[in-house]
Every structure is written in C-alpha cells, then in structure tokens.
Amino acid sequence: MVDVIVFIISASVILGGAIGVIFNPNPVHAALSLIATFFGVAILFVLQEVHFLALVQVVVYGGAVVVLFLFVIMLLGVEEIERFDEEPIEGQRIAALGGSLILLGVILAGLFLSGPGGEDGAVAITGQAAQMVPLTNETDVVQLANDLFTRHVFAFEATGLLLTIATVGAVVLVKNRGAEDLVVDEPGTSVR
C-alpha cells in the first residue's frame, strides 16, 4: 500500500515537472521544473530498489545536466519570456498535439494488447534476450559493476572515449575565434 502512495506522489511530481517544462515561458523556470521530474524518476528507481541508478540520476541529471542548462541560460542572458500568443507555423500546435496523442495511443495500444505487464509484448517485438543476465541477491552496485566490467567492458571504454571527444568538441565549438565573432548579426544576414 505504501508503494502505491509513493508511486502516485512521484508520478504526479514527474508529470507536473514535465508540464512545467513545456508550458513555462521562462527557460529558467523550465529548468527548475526539470529538476522535479528528475527527482521523481529517482524516487521511482528507489521504489524499485535500484539504488545506484537513483543516486546517479540525482547526481548526473539533477546535478550536472540542470546546472549546465542554468549556466548556459545565465551565461548567454537568454532568460527572455517566450511569447506563446504568436504561432509561427499555422496549425503547428494542433498538429503537434495530434501527433503526440497518436504516439501515446500507439504505445498504450502496444502495451495493453500485448498482455499483462507488457512483458509478453516486449518479447514479441524484440525477441527473446540472447543472453539473459539474471538478478542475484547481491546489491545492485555489485551486480552492475560485475556486468559493466566483464560483459560490457569494451562499451564502457568506448563511452570514456565518447566523453573525451564530447569535451574536446565542446571546447572547439565554443572557443572564441576573434573579436568579430562577438558582433551580433541581424537575423537573415549571411553567417560564415
């Protein structure tokens, strides 16, 4: 019974945060709503006894990613209010709403037509897992570490390389190439 209450509270925090991200005209407020969503997801992870991923969720998403967003917003001074009353492409919002409702309907149909819990449908779509890694009684950190450093060690090294490339790429992209880059272009003028 307790887990039902926890689920309902964290689900409403998640969805409220998501709605806040979408409907807040101010990007700073949107970033703060994003924190609510990330924390709600972390609570759901704790509820499923996946404690390490909950920790990483809070540290990486709630910490690093949101701080990065806020840093960029403040650095550029783009915390201006987006105007919702003008619609640049006519009928775009209705089309977006319809498209996402269709997406939701397709996912839910696949979920509920496939049997209880969606497990049968998942297996029907993806096929049986080639090599299952069964959960054991050890803590989830130990299990995850064993899996990462034995079966996925090459992928783990590749993500290290990916992060290095991303860091170098960010420095190259943002590096100031000279004073003329700081000139604010008018929209529509040519850009190198």
Partner: protein, 101 residues
C-alpha cells in the same frame, strides 16, 4: 492494490509523449533540449521496470549507458546552442534555418 510493471510503463508512455509534444511546440532551443531529456528519462523508467519484472540486469546496464550518452549529448548540443545564440541572443530555432548553404 500493488504497483505493477504496467503502471511504470503507462507513466513512461505519458512522459515520452509529453516530451515529444514539448519538442514540437517550443521554439527556444534550450527548452527543446530539456524536452529531449524528458523523453530519455521516460525510456529509463521503462528500462528499469522491465529489468525488475523480467529479473534481467541488462535493463539497468542500458540505463547506465543512456545516462553517459545523454551527458555527452547535452555537452555537445549546448555548445552548439551557445555558439549560435552568441550571434543573436533572441534567436529561436526558426532562425537557425540560416545555417543551410
């Protein structure tokens, strides 16, 4: 009453659709990035729910890699946004059409 896998999957589907809707509707590139993060989190919820219900660790490993790749994606994406917005701080994604050609 008990929280089943279906609850998590329905929540994940709703969160994914909300993120997709925000990505299509908003014009501020930073907020569009946040909506992509919402969609990634929705997928993480269903990964963990399947990992628990199928008793398979692979779902949790997948969440770990999604986290790492999302962090790298945010770094590169935000640096592109920074270099674009430095020219014109009030730019929306519509103005980025000037990148072509």
């Amino acid at each position: 009453m008990e929280v089943t896998t279906t609850w998590y999957l329905v929540l994940s589907a709703v969160l994914f659709s909300l993120g997709a809707f925000g990505l299509l509707v908003r014009r501020n590139p930073l907020v569009m990035f946040m909506c992509v993060e919402l969609m990634l989190n929705a997928v993480n919820i269903s990964f963990v729910a399947f990992s628990r219900s199928l008793q398979d660790l692979a779902g949790q490993t997948a969440v770990f890699f999604v986290l790492v790749v999302a962090a790298a994606e945010v770094v590169v994406g935000l640096s592109i946004v920074v270099s674009l917005l430095r020219r014109n701080p009030s730019a929306t994604v519509d103005d980025f059409a000037e990148m072509k050609g």
